[in-house]
Amino acid sequence: MNPTVAALYFDGQSSASRPVVLQFDEPFLELHLLFAGENTMVWPLSELRFENYGQVLEIRSQLHSGALVKTEDPGFSQAFIKAMKQNKHVDVHSRLLGLGFSKLMVLALVLIALVGLAYFYALPPLAERAATLLPESFDEEIGNIVMESIIDEEEIDVEKTKVLQSFASRLRLNNTKALTFTVVHSEQVNAFALPNGQIVVYSGILDGMNSPEELIALLGHEATHVNKRHSIQMLCRNLSGYMVVSLLLSDVNGIMAVLADNAQQLHSLSYSRRFEKEADEEGLSILMNNHANPYGMVQLFEQLEKENKFSVPTILSTHPLTTERKENMQKIISGSSYEIKPDTNLSSIFELLKD
């Protein structure tokens, strides 16, 4: 004989409750509701849903809309919930919840750690790989958009832009796509490259330069960012990070916002240290290929460091660890052989850029 427990029954038609005796027929997977006067209702387990609130167990049948039975017998609750679990009438969520608070916390921490690892170690290389799949036209378009906003905001020095163009045209910058050069009239010590081959140099950085080699070093560095598609790779990286975060928070609009935001911020985008190192080293070999003095690169860093003492130049805030990079340059230069052929034309053009 199956044990019986007292319960309250709501029939779904009236809010009044009436007593009922519950009998759990485990072998047949049925719940029997025994009412006074020999009336019996049979609820098959497969149709049942239940809520467990501490001592209270509420059981509802999908076959009887609204109807529920409520009991507070711990032994009965235990047997009933166990049977529901065994017969797969309990969803994943409730099962996980059943693990208990401490196990859940451990599980959550492990998952956070995994997500963190993936976010910092697996995602960036994947995203950079994805960048190579993007067509060149994407670089063009995104670069054009940013350039348009710069033209609107900044004062372009038309004369010096022409001079810089002719300076650069005498150099071999290892570029695969056409590079365009623009001088912006501004006190800021800054320069940046856009993915469409636009290289923007601020007059503030030009004014601080003492030799054409420094300018070649700067252009070589920025040209490398374009040649290696660094900004598109960084964009993909940033975007993929946000995409994962947005996905976790189920925020679709966020992704669009980030795309728009990043496109606008492209010129102040900070590259990863690896990209900067690559641009430094390639820039240095561009200097050597042009038979210019490779110490131009070192001088460039020294200028940036000097500026740093008075105010933080914008270019430094996005180019970390100048000293370390300078030392790296000096090490490479002392280990390589090079030939210096001063170009008087370059020197005279360079003088025109300064005033």
Binding site: F10, G12, S15, A16, H93, L104, M105, S250
Partner: protein, 323 residues
């Protein structure tokens, strides 16, 4: 005292609303939600939402008997898909106007129109859904508002709001509240709300001015006034009997609630949100006092089975659950 089984329906009785949830329990629910949402790349979201609502409803009790939310993740997932379809259609139209007609003004106008147009549909849909899925003592709630009527009215109110530069907004809110509340049923109990735009407007005007002059301190008392207005204007009736509500919340109470929630959330980097939500729910439940002579033991089911209602009303695109 709260004798739910009071046979004499004419005597006045108190009804005790309370929230029995615990921060730690709710936190566990949220953690599991988060785990499952994470490993399903966000698809679990509607199911997670259902779990959260089920917890909140299941731990709200009137006279020691709990409410029940029977909505499921599957249903909410369908609503979620509908919303995405609408979003795509809307953005598609926007893009079309922008690229082919090259008229940004028209495109933005269209976007605003589309966003405002969905409000009454969404309000109607979510009221219907929420109410049909909520039950207490085995009796379902229901929403019987007429969608077309609501849409027509909403646009009328919206028009007035625009031509009065937003002043009519107070009337819009109260009218909307009155309309929706008076169409809520709990079995044979009818709900109503007597909020008036003029009163609500003055209340907010006073709140705004005082907040300005007290450098924001009055904000909590303004909050309290709004809450009080919402609650005090709500009524339930069944034949000759009825229930009146009034708020016992104080400005100080609101200050403690909101400042406490802010501290809890900030100092736990957001993980304490579960506790903050539970505090809010407890505060709300404890602040609503109800008095009247409806016998909650004698309420009869009057709502049709919602699944049937859905069949005849399948055109209702926005029968979804919104926040």
């Amino acid at each position: 005292m709260e004798t739910a089984t009071n046979q004499n329906t004419s005597t006045s009785q108190n009804y005790r609303l309370e929230f029995l949830g615990k921060g730690s329990e709710y936190f566990a629910i949220m953690i599991v939600n988060w785990l499952l949402t994470l490993i399903t790349f966000g698809i679990y979201y509607p199911w997670a939402r259902a779990k959260r609502l089920q917890y909140m409803y299941g731990h709200t009790a009137l006279n020691s008997e709990r409410f029940h939310f029977s909505g499921t993740g599957n249903e909410m997932f369908k609503g979620f898909i509908k919303l995405i379809v609408f979003y795509i259609l809307m953005m598609g139209g926007y893009m079309l106007l922008l690229t082919y007609l090259k008229s940004p003004l028209l495109a933005i106008l269209y976007l605003y129109l589309a966003l405002f147009a969905i409000i009454p549909f969404a309000v109607h849909g979510s009221f219907r859904y929420r109410m049909s899925r909520t039950s207490y003592r085995g009796i379902r709630f229901g929403y019987r508002g007429n969608r077309n009527e609501l849409v027509k009215n909403f646009f009328k109110w919206l028009f007035f709001t625009i031509i009065t530069f937003g002043i009519y907004g107070a009337w819009l809110q109260m009218n909307l509240r009155r309309y929706t509340h008076q169409h809520i049923r709990y079995g044979d109990v009818e709900f109503s709300n007597e909020g008036e735009g003029s009163e609500y407007f003055l209340l907010n005007l006073k709140g705004y001015i005082f907040t300005l002059f007290t450098l924001g301190i009055y904000l909590f008392w303004w909050q309290k006034d709004i809450f009080e207005y919402y609650i005090n204007k709500m009524k339930m009736s069944k034949g000759e009997t009825g229930i009146e509500c009034h708020s016992s919340a104080t400005g100080g109470g609101f200050f403690l609630l909101l400042a406490g929630n802010l501290l809890i959330t900030v100092f736990t980097l957001g993980f304490g949100k579960a506790w903050a939500d539970v505090r809010t729910q407890k505060f709300i439940c404890n602040s609503i006092q109800m008095q009247g002579n409806i016998n909650i033991d004698e309420i009869h089911q009057t709502e049709e089975e919602y699944t049937n209602a859905f069949g005849e009303d399948a055109m209702d695109f926005f029968e979804i659950d919104l926040a």
